[in-house]
C-alpha cells in the first residue's frame, strides 16, 4: 500500500484544566495521525476527552482555565502550538474547518446565514468580493441546500436543524480546507437527517479530497463512514486500527465492551444487551495504571499498578493493553502480534 502523507500529527499531547478542586487532565498523552483524503473516527464515551482533543487542534479551548501540558501538533509539518495568533487565524477556517455539535446554538442568531458563510473569507487574499458571494452560493448548493438564493438571505431561526447543520458544514468547507473536524455533528439530529449528512460527507471526500476527523460515540456512524478509528478512554488512546480490524478483530476489552453493548441485526430474540458496568474514571485523580482497569473483566494486578505499553498488532492495528504481553495468560483477546512485544 502506498504511503499516504500525513496531514495532521498529534504527538504525546497533554491538555489540562484548572478547576476549584485542582488540575483536571482531560487529555493525557494522546498521539495519532490523519492522512490525506482519509476519514478518521474518534470514538469514546462522554468525558473521555475527544472534544477537548479536537478543539486543541485549533486551540479553541478557553485558555484560562485550559492549558497545554506538553506535546506537539503538526499540521502539514508546522507546529500549531508554536504558531502566533495571526498564523493560527489563517489556519482556522482556511486550512482546517470545524463543524460543531449543536447546530441550534452554533450560529449567530442576529446575522444572515449567507453573511456567516462569507465571513470565512475576511482577511484572506486571493478572493475578490464578487467571488465571495458566488463561492458561498456554490458551497450551499454543494451541501444540498435547495433554493439557495432565498436561504442565503435568511436568519438561522428560519431554518430547520438539518439545514442549520448543512450551513455549519458549508462554513467549514467554503474555503476548501484540507481537513475538517466534525465533533458529533449528527448527535442532535434525527436518524433520517443523520443519514443524509453522512452521505454528504462521503460525497465531499470523493469530490474535494478533504480529510475528515469524525468524532462520535455512535458505532454505526463509524462503520458507515470511517477508514481508520481510534478509541479513547480516560484521556488516552486505548486502541487504533482500520474499521474492519476494530469491528472484527477487537483487541481491547473496552472496545469489546462497546461492541457488545449495542444491538446488532443478528442479536438473538430475548437476548439481553450487555452494558459496561461502572462509570468513567474521575480525571481529578486519574488511576495510576490502565484507566479501564476497574471496569475490565480481564483486569490483572499489573493493570492496576502500571500503565500498559502499546502493542503493534498489524500495520494499522495497535492496542494499549497488558493482555498482549507475553506473560499474560492465553485469552480470546490475545493476538499473535506480527512484531512480538514491540513497543512503539
Amino acid at each position: 500500500m502506498a504511503e499516504k502523507e500525513n496531514i495532521l500529527e498529534l504527538k504525546n499531547v497533554v491538555y489540562s484544566f484548572h478547576t476549584y478542586g485542582g488540575e483536571v487532565k482531560a487529555v493525557r498523552d494522546v498521539s495519532f495521525e490523519v492522512r490525506k483524503g482519509e476519514i478518521l473516527g474518534i470514538v469514546g464515551e462522554s468525558g473521555c476527552g475527544k472534544s477537548v482533543t479536537a478543539q486543541c487542534i485549533l486551540r479553541l479551548n478557553p485558555e484560562p482555565p485550559g492549558f497545554f501540558g506538553g506535546g506537539e501538533i503538526l499540521f502539514k509539518g508546522r507546529d500549531i502550538l508554536k504558531m502566533s495568533n495571526k498564523e493560527i487565524r489563517k489556519v482556522r477556517g482556511g486550512e482546517i474547518g470545524f463543524v460543531f455539535q449543536d447546530p441550534m446554538t452554533s450560529l449567530n442568531p442576529t446575522m444572515r446565514v449567507g453573511a456567516q458563510i462569507e465571513e470565512v473569507f475576511l482577511g484572506r487574499t486571493g478572493v475578490t468580493k464578487k467571488e465571495v458571494k458566488n463561492r458561498a452560493l456554490e458551497i450551499m448548493k454543494l451541501v444540498g441546500i435547495s433554493d439557495v438564493e432565498k436561504r442565503y438571505r435568511q436568519y438561522p431561526h428560519e431554518l430547520s436543524g438539518g439545514m442549520k447543520q448543512r450551513i455549519m458544514i458549508a462554513i467549514a468547507l467554503v474555503s476548501r480546507p484540507s481537513l475538517i473536524i466534525c465533533d458529533e455533528p449528527t448527535t442532535s439530529l434525527d436518524v433520517t437527517i443523520e443519514a443524509q449528512i453522512l452521505d454528504l460527507l462521503l460525497e465531499l471526500r470523493e469530490k474535494l479530497g478533504t480529510s475528515i476527523i469524525m468524532i462520535t460515540h455512535d458505532l454505526g456512524v463509524i462503520a458507515r463512514l470511517c477508514d481508520r478509528v481510534i478509541v479513547m478512554y480516560g484521556g488516552k488512546v486505548v486502541e487504533r486500527g482500520t474499521a474492519d480490524e476494530l469491528f472484527y478483530d477487537t483487541a481491547h476489552p473496552y472496545t469489546k465492551g462497546l461492541m457488545n453493548s449495542i444491538a446488532k441485526l443478528d442479536t438473538a430474540k430475548g437476548e439481553k444487551l450487555q452494558p459496561i458496568e461502572g462509570t468513567p474514571p474521575d480525571l481529578f485523580s486519574p488511576p495510576v495504571g490502565c484507566p479501564f482497569a476497574a471496569r475490565c473483566d480481564y483486569c490483572m494486578d499489573v493493570c492496576n499498578e502500571m500503565p500498559p505499553e502499546v502493542y503493534q498488532l498489524t500495520d494499522e492495528h495497535a492496542t494499549c493493553c497488558w493482555l498482549q504481553h507475553e506473560m499474560a495468560p492465553d485469552n480470546d483477546m490475545k493476538k499473535k502480534p506480527e512484531k512480538k512485544g514491540e513497543v512503539r
Binding site: 485549533l58 479553541l60 484560562p64 493560527i88 487565524r89 489563517k90 489556519v91 482556522r92 477556517g93 482556511g94 474547518g97 470545524f98 460543531f100 449543536d102 446554538t105 452554533s106 450560529l107 449567530n108 442568531p109 442576529t110 446575522m111 465571513e119 470565512v120 475576511l122 482577511g123 436568519y155 431561526h157 428560519e158 431554518l159 455549519m168 462554513i171 467549514a172
Partner: protein, 306 residues
Amino acid sequence: MLKYVTKRVVAAILTVFALVTIVFFLVRLMPGEPFTSAKLTKEVAENMNSYYGFDKPILEQYFTYMGNLLHGNFGYSMKYTNKTVNYIIGQTFPFSADLGIRALCLAVSLGLVLGIIAARNRGKKLDFACVLIAIVGTSIPDFIMGALLQYFFGIKWGLLPVAKYLGIEYTILPACALAFYTLASVSRIMRSSMLEVTSQDYIKTARSKGLSELRITCKHQIRNAIMPVMTVLGPTVASVLTGTFVIEAIFAIPGMGKYYVESVNNNDYAMILGMTVFYGCFLVLCNLIVDILYGVADPRVRIGKR
C-alpha cells in the same frame, strides 16, 4: 412583526387608561381641599368648587375628566387660575425633556462602552476599574450626586455654573448628575450580557473561522449582547426622566419638577392630575418606542418563526 407592534400598542393604550384612572381616584382621595386657604371667602370657594365640578358626584367628575382628556384639555390650574395646565406644561416640559435627553444619551453611550471594555478585559485591572465605577455609581442616589457635583465643581473649584439654565455649559453638571446612576447600571448589565454571550457556542464557531478578535467582538458579541440591554432601556428611560424632578430643584432649572412639587404642596388637583397623567403617558410612549425598536433589532421578532 405587525402582530408584535399591535400587541404593544394595545397594551400601551390600556396602560394609559389604567394610569389615568388610578391617578384620578388617588388624587381625589387626598386629604384637604384646594380652596380652603384663608385668602378666599366662602362664596368664592363655593363658586370655584362648582366651576371645577367638585360638587358633582365623583363618577360624573371622572367621565367629564376623561372626556376632556381625549380632547387634550387638562383644565385650569387651581393656583395659577389664569393659566391652563396645558400652558404650564408647554412652558416647562421642554426644559425637562432637554435635560433628560442629554442625560440619557450620555448614560447609554458611556455605559455601553464601559460595559464592553470591562467584559473584554475580564479579570484584569481595567475590568476592576469599570466595575468599581459601576458599583459606586449605583450606590449614589442622583440627588446626592447632584449636591456633590455642585459642591466640588461649582462652589469649591468654581469650574462650572451651578444654577439656572442660561447656556449650554449650564447643562453639564445637571446632566452628569442625572446620568451617573444610569450609566453605572447600563454598564453593569452590558458587562454581564457580554460575558454571557462570550460563553455561547456561536462565538466558538466564529473563532473557528479564523476571524479577528475585533470582528468577533463587534459583529458577534456586541450585536447579541445589546439585546438584553434594550429590554431594560424602557424602565431606564423612566428613571432618568423622573429623576429630573429633583435635579431641577437642586440646579434651579425651570422645568416641570418645580411646578410639580409646588402643586403637591398646594393640593392643586388639576395640576397634579395633569402633570402626572402627562408625564405618565410620556413614559408609556417612551417604553412603547423602545419595545418597537427592540422588535426591529432582533430578527427573531422582526421576521418571526418559520
